[in-house]
């Protein structure tokens, strides 16, 4: 065998450490910044000295900020990767779980779960998964036939499914009158404020295996971009690969939505940005989206905590403010 490393591995060895460093830096910034001033170095002290020390600052950092930053990184990674996978399956650079209404579908499932009094895990999570699969099915049926790959049919289907989901969500919200209302609304906009280590741990346990599976399918995603027929004649078992991609992506996205609500456009912004810098090879993009998407969400959440003078806003406000204009720009540019 040739001892020379394949070109893809060489590129991964330069790209991943760089993105890993960015993620580490943004996580550190996320831990040290907040409404209670901690200063750059005291956060470092607190992290080094561990959880057992006393003092308010240590408690804030270990009990509140650290799990929250971990959660944000995990959520950002999941949603970016979700966007990347949908773009490959549907061969459309504008596809994304939120835009397609799949996030909305899992939100309906999750809210229904909350109202029925299920616990976050596994009840609400499974309801969200069911909701996402139902909307996915709906979108595929609506845009199927010859126009499946046409941008307009797909995006319009997504817009309609999204509108319908929004109506159902509003209906459920308006039927709710007790204290759960505020929780639901805040959660809907994408919120990390109620995160503990155990929640981050549960989400990691569901999503990390999906990340690995998707990395192993990354070369198949490249081939899928050549179209169903060509992919099959190049050795891809289309039905099996597509099913694995759809189910694992829906699972991790709905697990994420059931924990943190609707965070839009992350799956659009990050894959697009990374594709511009690193090219379209999914073997590089899958790990890059995990690290880059994680950094992006940590930064958005830190901004959401740091920008308001009083209290904080949901991170979803920031991701949508960045993402929606970019989506419009991409849509305009994609028309000849």
């Amino acid at each position: 065998m040739n001892s020379e490393k394949p070109a893809v591995l060489k590129r991964l060895l330069t790209v991943l450490p760089a993105l890993g460093l960015i993620l580490a830096l943004s996580m550190y910034a996320g831990i040290s910044l907040g409404s209670t001033q901690s200063g750059f170095f005291s956060a470092f002290d607190a992290l080094i000295s561990g959880e057992n020390t006393h003092g308010l600052m240590d408690a804030i950092i270990w009990k509140i900020r650290f799990p929250r930053v971990l959660m944000a990184a995990l959520v950002g990674a999941t949603l970016s990767l979700g966007g990347l996978v949908f773009q490959a399956i549907l061969r459309n650079p504008l596809a994304e779980p939120y835009i397609l209404g799949i996030s909305g579908g899992s939100a309906i499932g999750a809210i229904a779960g909350i109202l029925m009094g299920f616990s976050r895990f596994p009840g609400v999570c499974l309801m969200a998964f069911a909701g996402s699969l139902a909307t996915l099915f709906l979108i595929l049926v609506m845009s199927s036939g010859q126009t499946l790959l046409r941008q307009n049919a797909l995006l319009l289907s997504g817009v309609m499914v999204n509108a319908f989901c929004a109506a159902v969500i509003m209906f459920l919200v308006s039927m709710t009158q007790d204290s759960r209302l505020h929780n639901i609304i805040f959660w809907l906009m994408g919120d990390f404020s109620m995160t503990g280590f155990s929640q981050a741990g549960i989400l990691a346990a569901i999503n990390l295996p999906c990340f690995f599976l998707l990395f192993f399918l990354s070369n198949k995603m490249n081939l899928l971009l050549m179209g169903k027929d060509l992919a099959q004649t190049m050795g891809v078992n289309f039905a099996a690969v597509t099913l694995a991609l759809l189910v694992s992506t829906s699972l991790m996205v709905s697990a994420t939505v059931s924990h943190c609500g609707l965070l839009g456009f992350v799956g659009l912004v990050i894959p697009h940005l990374l594709r511009m810098i690193l090219g379209p090879d999914h073997r590089i993009l899958v790990p890059a989206c995990i690290l880059g998407g994680g950094s992006y969400m940590v930064i958005c959440d830190t901004l959401a905590r740091a920008l308001p003078h009083q209290g904080e806003m949901p991170a979803g406000v920031i991701t949508a403010m960045v993402g929606a204009p970019l989506f419009i720009y991409l849509l305009k540019r994609s028309r000849p």
Partner: protein
Amino acid sequence: MKQAVLRIRDLSFFYEKSKVLESLSFSVEDNGFFIIIGPNGSGKSTLLKLMAGLINPVSGQVEVLGKSVGAYKRKALAKILGLVPQTTSMDFPFTVMDVVLMGRSPHLGMLGLEREEDIHIAMQALKFTGVDALSSREMGRLSGGERQRVCIARAICQDPKIILLDEPTASLDLAHQIRVMDLMEKLQHEKGITIVMVSHDINLAAMYADTLLILKDGRIVDSGPPRDVITFKTLEQTYGCTLLVDESPLGNYPRVTQVPGKYLKTPNKTVHYPRENLNDA
């Protein structure tokens, strides 16, 4: 006698309730240049998809190297059979090299990590099709003819025994049409690959095919060497219009000429069918 690499036995296919192909049986010889022609909706493209194992027949079967196409694993079939579609659209910024290397994936592992050797094979394929200078260009920025040749290079990289092509010249100008057809002939002669092509262009088909299969409404009208198959009677029956058949100025090939309606007002006076007479004799 040459061995058959593709054998079609009593093949039928339906979409919904309408019959697309009805009890077709024929075989494609090893290292042949086999072209399927016929009017729109005759079932040509469906037949090609059946041969590539992309759809399953309602009845009958397609055998590749003596084994039913459905019995192959996708990856194993990809080492025997390559496909070049009519057009390839690409919304993602893959380079020519990226796309051609994809053709190596049936020979590689799960992640398709390509070795030096594979890059060499890809470069050779690009040289063979004459687009090696474009290797770092983006697919989306190539002309139709260039893209078609990249797609052929990708199929060559699979190292197949058979290449199936769906109207590869349909959207190309005259120069690129000949270039693509010459390329396929070179593949047949120099690499020993069997070429199976669906085409609309009967004159091109006549100059390159060693076997021509004429399809109409899902049935075989005739098949054999172009000289035997391209006759006034067969063509009129197939296309439902008057077509002249004579000798190509290059000699040796039948040439088909379409007849505008204004010439048909005085039948038997201006229209002659020299090839037809030849065939009757």
